[in-house]
C-alpha cells in the first residue's frame, strides 16, 4: 500500500516532464506501466495533457497573427 502511494506521488510529480518526453527511457517506461493500471494517475495525466494541448493551440493561434513591422527599415539601420 505504502509502495503504491509512493509510486503514485512519484508519477504525479513527473507527469509534466512525461508529457514533454523529458524523462529517461527507463523511467518513462515505468510511468507508462503505472498509468496502465492506475486510474487516478491516468486522470491526472489526462488533465496534464489537455493543458499542454490547450497552451500549444493558444500559442499557435497567436503566432499566426501578422506582425505589422517594417522589417526592411529595421535592416536598413544596420
Amino acid at each position: 500500500m505504502l509502495n503504491n502511494i509512493i509510486a503514485c506521488n512519484l508519477v504525479t510529480d513527473n507527469l509534466s516532464a512525461f508529457v514533454d518526453r523529458e524523462l529517461d527511457e527507463d523511467f518513462d517506461y515505468e510511468i507508462k506501466k503505472h498509468l496502465s493500471v492506475c486510474l487516478d494517475c491516468r486522470r491526472k495525466f489526462s488533465k496534464m495533457l489537455k493543458i499542454h494541448h490547450l497552451m500549444k493551440k493558444y500559442f499557435n493561434g497567436h503566432l499566426k497573427t501578422d506582425l505589422k513591422m517594417d522589417f526592411m527599415k529595421l535592416v536598413s539601420f544596420i
Binding site: L15, D20, M55, M69, L74, V75
Partner: protein, 204 residues
C-alpha cells in the same frame, strides 16, 4: 553560395531554410536578414507579449530584439543555436526593460487582469461542454487563457512561454533562465497545475 545569392530575388528567400539564411545574413545579405526577422518577428512579439505583465510597449521591445538580432547576427558562431541565442536576446531585453521601469516582477495586481472579463465570459466558464477547438477561435476564451498566463508569477510565466510557445527543451530553458534542469522541470509542472486550476472548466 555568395555569388548565387546575389542573383536571388526577395521572393526566393522565403523558401530558404533558416541555416542558409543565417549564412547569407552573416555575409551581409540584407534580404536574407530581412527574411530572418520576418520569420522570427511573431515569435519574438508573442514571447514578450506573454512574458511581460505590461502591455504598453511590446512593439518597442520586439523592435529592440529584432534590431539586436540584426546587429549581432555576424557574432553567432553555431547557426544551429540560433533559437537559443535569440531567446537569450529576448530575455535580456525583457529584463533590461523591467529594470529600467524599476518595478519588480509581479508588481502589477493579478486581479486587475480579470477586470475586463464580461458577463458573457462568466457564462461561458460555466459551460462544461465547450468544444475547445471552436472556443479557441473565440476571442473571449483567448482573453481567459491570456489572463491565466499573465496571472502566473514571473518565473512560471517565463518557462511556460519558452516551453509551450518556443518548444525549447528543458536543457535549453535551463541555460536561458540560468537555473538547473530540475528547477525548470518543477517550474513547468507547477505552472501547468496552476493553469489547470485556472482553466479547469476547459480541461475537465
Amino acid at each position: 553560395m555568395g555569388v548565387i545569392l546575389r542573383y536571388l530575388r526577395k521572393h526566393d528567400y522565403k523558401n530558404m531554410d533558416l541555416i542558409s539564411l543565417i549564412e547569407a545574413a552573416q555575409a551581409s545579405n540584407l534580404l536574407a536578414l530581412e527574411e530572418i526577422l520576418r520569420r522570427q518577428g511573431n515569435i519574438v512579439y508573442s514571447s514578450l507579449y506573454h512574458m511581460s505583465p505590461f502591455i504598453d510597449n511590446i512593439d518597442d521591445l520586439s523592435q529592440e530584439v529584432l534590431m539586436r538580432i540584426a546587429r549581432s547576427i555576424k557574432t553567432l558562431k553555431k547557426k544551429e543555436n540560433f533559437k537559443f541565442w535569440m531567446n537569450q536576446i529576448i530575455s535580456n531585453v525583457f529584463y533590461d526593460d523591467l529594470r529600467q521601469k524599476k518595478r519588480k516582477p509581479n508588481a502589477v495586481s493579478i486581479d486587475s487582469f480579470y477586470d475586463d472579463l464580461s458577463d458573457n465570459t462568466q457564462k461561458e466558464i460555466e459551460d462544461t461542454t465547450i468544444n475547445i477547438e471552436e472556443k479557441l477561435k473565440n476571442s473571449e476564451l483567448d482573453i481567459i487563457i491570456r489572463n491565466s498566463i499573465r496571472g502566473l508569477e514571473e518565473h512560471f510565466r517565463e518557462v511556460v512561454v519558452l516551453r509551450e510557445l518556443q518548444g525549447l527543451s528543458y536543457e535549453q530553458i535551463s541555460r536561458i533562465v540560468g537555473v538547473n534542469i530540475g528547477t525548470v522541470k518543477s517550474r513547468i509542472a507547477r505552472a501547468r497545475i496552476k493553469l489547470q486550476d485556472k482553466l479547469k472548466y476547459y480541461v475537465g
